[in-house]
Symmetry: C2
């Protein structure tokens, strides 16, 4: 039931927004009572926090898997872009909520999630820095700016990319990696 509540809430939050969706809407859509909801979650905000935590913890874990593999920096960059793009197909609606509704978390929870997001970003920045140092990447780059460019390209895809459309997720990853790497690779 807990998973059902989470899945249905994600659907409703994505369609109508977090503020506009009440606990009543959620339980009505599931044909259960408010009691059932409050058995699993202290509040609507607690539920939102759980969605955020599950999302970022999963991303961080998969990022760690990539970072600890025996791969070049460029291959790791490609894998991380893949992680973000494939997630559109894998959990499109959670991703939308993850990106849009963070301000509805209470301050303390918002800070926890932001710290984890920062960790995800700083892992990429560290990787880029490593690539600059081992000369896989251009020596003139700022690792922080490149990191934001990578996150920007990947995260913006949620606004328009349809994984069932003409471009496959794999083709999109290849095309973005091509743009980014040929822009930042040290081919000299």
């Amino acid at each position: 039931m807990k998973t059902k509540i989470i899945t249905k809430s994600i659907e409703l939050f994505e369609r109508n927004g977090f503020t506009e969706t009440s606990v009543q809407h959620i339980v009505d859509a599931l044909h259960v009572t408010k009691g059932t909801f409050y058995y699993y979650f202290d509040s609507k905000e607690a539920l939102l926090m759980e969605i955020h935590l599950a999302y970022i913890d999963d991303l961080l874990q998969r990022q760690t898997t990539i970072l600890t593999q025996q791969l070049s920096v460029k291959e790791k960059i490609k894998a991380i872009i893949g992680l973000l793009i494939f997630d559109i197909e894998r959990q499109g609606k959670s991703a939308q909520i993850f990106l849009k509704e963070i301000r509805h978390l209470v301050a303390e929870n918002g800070e926890k999630i932001k710290a984890k997001r920062n960790a995800f970003r700083l892992n990429i920045e560290h990787l880029i820095q490593q690539g600059i140092e081992n000369k896989e990447l251009k020596q003139t780059l700022r690792a922080d700016t490149i990191t934001f460019a990578i996150l920007g390209i990947s995260n913006y895809s949620y606004n328009w990319f349809n994984p069932q459309g003409e471009i496959t997720p794999l083709a999109l990853v290849d095309s973005y990696v091509e743009i980014i790497l040929n822009g930042i690779s040290n081919d000299s």
Copy 2:
């Protein structure tokens, strides 16, 4: 007074969200009556629509100015990225609202704004296509994907870029143009 209402509302929407900000909050913050508000705007939604229209019409107009100049495709790409990045400094809060609150417009107004956003995007796509045809850009590119990459990098900056920080807006534009162009330029 109309401009004052718009400016103050942008501030409140950005800080607290559109849904959470009532007309009462807006008039209280300005020490005026609700009557004053409704003299200028039919509703809170009408005000939001006005913010959206002003923002996108201004962007489209400045984009047209760039596109009609005697510049290479690459120079025009740079100018359009500049347009988006400099706007963070120029009208950061409107931009936030423009990007986040579109779903609160009524269906018909939402469609009008989306059509204008699409026009902005398709102008870039057309420019990229032109660059592919005149061989300034690589022949293998998909103009639509590149366009989304450019919009992604630029628009994502609103999430993190502080124009008063260590990196100046000009340096950021240069750095993004460098990443994108060296990735998509046909240097062969």
